[in-house]
């Protein structure tokens, strides 16, 4: 009897994120006009796509107990690279994409180098990339905003089977990442390294490479996310991508990814987190809440979500306390 109770209770706790997500969605659905429509759902997804992709990369870094503050600057840098290729050199947009991803990879690799080879703590290493990286970008553009030709912006309007391209890209990234983490040796070792670095070393895993790889992934995701958003907005001001590192981290943590490493998933975790934040913001706008109050409510809800998650973990720990009497049973 009691056992069943606890099992139910536990199941409930395990899925707080999802439950909260549904609650938020329904509440706004009831409050705001035409919110629970398919169209709106698509809008929300497509708007989640760019930050969502970045969040996927961030999740990798968080899984090994790291942090990447440089994604915002990487977004800008790769956007600059794209513009150089597409606008200045007037090459094909596909080369633009390549350049974009290449830059993302390069700076991700730099982070990896600083963290694994030089042994600088991730927080500082990526902080530096964040500061210097943007400076570098501005040096190139002289902070003039970049406008992108239709060849790029049209990509945003492409639809396959009625679904927007950026949503598909997002889905693809999430899918790949999820499979990678759950089904490949590298993915599992990533969790291992995040769980116990020393043990991972002893087990002869190439820890440095594993950790390094996450920053590269994060860099590439940042670049790709940047590109998706360029295609949507067609114009990149000097402030492009600023603070998106915080949005990404917030989304990941809301999705149940631990900042201490080893815990969390891309699907459903990070995905839910991202979309949830988006839903809240969209809901506030749809409801036309006083623009000064919106961020306050936003903050409050996120805080509540994190609090809930914390309480749940405390509860789970209690339930998880080793049970001697059932040990043999």
């Amino acid at each position: 009897m009691r056992a069943i109770e606890t099992r139910f209770f536990r199941a409930l706790l395990k899925n707080t994120t999802f439950i909260l997500f549904v609650v938020v969605f329904v509440v706004f659905g009831l409050l705001a006009r035409n919110f629970l429509t398919l169209g709106n759902l698509q809008v929300i997804l497509s708007n989640s796509s760019y930050i969502g992709i970045i969040t996927v990369g961030m999740t990798f870094v968080l899984l090994v107990g790291g942090i990447d503050l440089s994604v915002g600057s990487i977004m800008y840098l790769s956007a600059v690279a794209t513009s150089v290729v597409v606008n200045d050199l007037e090459l094909s947009p596909w080369l633009g994409v390549v350049a974009c991803l290449a830059v993302g990879l390069a700076f991700g690799a730099f982070n990896a180098f600083a963290v694994t080879k030089l042994g600088i703590v991730p927080f500082i290493a990526t902080l530096v990339t964040m500061i210097a990286g943007r400076g570098l970008g501005l040096l190139v553009t002289q902070s003039v905003q970049l406008d992108f030709p239709d060849s790029i912006t049209l990509l945003a309007t492409v639809r396959l089977g009625g679904v927007q391209l950026n949503i598909l890209i997002y889905a693809l990234v999430v899918g790949l990442a999820a499979l990678f983490l759950a089904w490949t040796p590298w993915g599992r070792r990533l969790y291992a390294a995040g769980n116990d670095l020393e043990a991972a070393r002893k087990a002869g895993l190439k820890v440095a490479r594993i950790i390094g790889s996450t920053y590269v992934v994060s860099g590439i995701c940042a670049a790709l996310g940047g590109f998706v958003s360029i295609a949507q907005i067609g114009r990149v001001p000097a402030s492009f991508g600023r603070n998106s590192e915080f949005d990404a981290i917030a989304a990941a943590v809301l999705g149940g990814v631990s900042l201490f490493g080893g815990v969390g998933t891309v699907f459903p975790g990070a995905l839910l987190g991202t979309v949830m934040i988006r839903v809240i913001q969209a809901g506030l706008v749809a409801k036309n809440v006083d623009i000064y109050i919106q961020p306050i409510i936003m903050g409050a809800i996120i805080f509540f979500a994190v609090l809930l998650d914390a309480l749940r973990n405390l509860q789970l720990k209690k339930l998880g306390r080793r049970n001697i009497m059932k040990l043999e049973a």
Binding site: I124, V128, G135, L138, V306, D309
Partner: protein
């Protein structure tokens, strides 16, 4: 222009080696044996005062290119820029020792700045403020509730400190009692309180602060500027607190191993909470200084300052993983950062390069710290 930037940049980027050499290179080598020099270099590298040396060295290297650096006025400005940052950085230090982090100090400063100003402001323009939620209740044409009161300013400052500490307390409880990740908690409260700070005056800066308030940022008692008194006072206080008291010892213990600390009867949760309260308190205090020198309450005060606050600490070797950190270190870190900002400002760098240089310097310093810890580990 950019040619001038060059020497500055590598000058600090590869500080360590340049460090130990130049440190001694500047006196006649005749009466120093080589071995002695090496030893001195090593001592310097491993010494507590390393970052301080680095600052001196940095000045020395830049001196020739930047005579204005040593202009008395400039030195005075530089020093005056140290105190507020020092105060808030010290607050951060407490939290870092517990292996936490407080991202919300910036919006804490903004909110307290607004609130303090609202209380003492002597007059405000209805055109600007009639829309804001405080209008009629706290704010009128004749300023805030404490306007012109004899003890108005002290009370206002006190309120700021209380509210600042309160914000810290909220963070602390969330982290210590509910075991929420510090980064996330303070990130959210950063968003939240910044929003509140902007909401209260509906984005307007609050001017016409009474002289008694402004003095706190600009005035001086005898020859000594008040901010200096505050800064040094806080520094000494914090130093004693950390090195000489029960709280200090327990703080380090908690930062090193919370489980062992709890079992050893240390009220872990309370200690951690107190650390955040201190962080909030210091933020509010710094907010007083900043608001006073800017002569206004700003809902966007210190928006971009987080990097300096944490950077100053980390550069000086305060560990993000807890248990390690001293006030002297923070002080050196702050000096270094202010110096850096000042020189980057004086150098006529094209402003795009400033961030790059700044980044590289932090990078260099961080890398140096790694080298030092390794060297230390070796010699142990």
């Amino acid at each position: 222009m950019s040619t001038e930037s060059r020497p500055a940049e590598p000058g600090d980027a590869r500080g360590p080696h340049a460090g130990s050499d130049a440190l001694v290179g500047h006196r006649p080598a005749a009466w120093w044996s080589r071995a002695r020099l090496m030893k001195l270099g090593r001592t310097a590298l491993l010494s507590e005062y390393f970052v301080l040396y680095l600052s001196f060295l940095y000045m020395l290297v830049l001196g020739p290119f930047l005579p204005q650096l040593f202009a008395t006025q400039n030195l005075a400005d530089m020093v005056s820029n140290i105190w507020p940052l020092l105060v808030v950085a010290i607050g951060q230090n407490f939290v870092l020792i517990t292996a936490g982090i407080d991202l919300s100090q910036t919006s804490n400063m903004a909110l307290t700045s607004v609130i303090g100003a609202v209380l003492v402001v002597t007059a405000c323009d209805p055109v600007l403020f009639s829309k804001c939620p405080l209008w009629g209740t706290l704010l009128t044409e004749h300023g805030g509730p404490l306007a012109g009161m004899a003890l108005g300013v002290p009370i206002a400052v006190l309120t700021m400190l209380v509210i600042g500490s309160l914000i810290g307390w909220i963070n602390g409880v969330a982290v210590a009692r509910f075991k929420m990740p510090a980064f996330m908690v303070t990130l959210v409260s950063m968003m939240f309180f910044s929003a509140v700070a902007i909401y209260l005056p509906k984005s307007e800066n609050i001017q016409n602060l009474p002289h008694a308030f402004v003095v706190l940022g600009k005035g001086s008692i005898g020859p000594v500027p008040i901010p200096l008194l505050v800064g040094v006072g806080v520094a000494i206080g914090a130093h004693l607190l950390l090195s000489r008291t029960l709280f200090g010892r327990r703080l380090y213990a908690v930062g090193t191993n919370p489980v062992a600390s709890t079992i050893s009867g240390i009220p872990t949760a309370r200690i951690i909470t107190q650390a955040y309260v201190l962080a909030g308190f210091c933020a509010a205090l710094a907010s007083v200084l900043y608001s006073a020198r800017l002569e206004m309450g700003r809902p966007t005060l210190a928006r971009t300052q987080f990097i300096d606050i944490v950077g100053a600490n980390v550069i000086a070797g305060v560990s993000l993983s807890g248990g390690k950190g001293k006030i002297t270190w923070t002080a050196f870190g702050v000096i270094f950062f202010v110096l850096l900002a000042n020189t980057l400002n004086l150098l006529d760098l094209p402003f795009y390069t400033i961030d790059i240089v700044k980044g590289l310097v932090i990078f260099g310093a961080a890398f140096l710290d790694v080298m030092r810890t390794r060297a230390a580990a070796q010699s142990h």
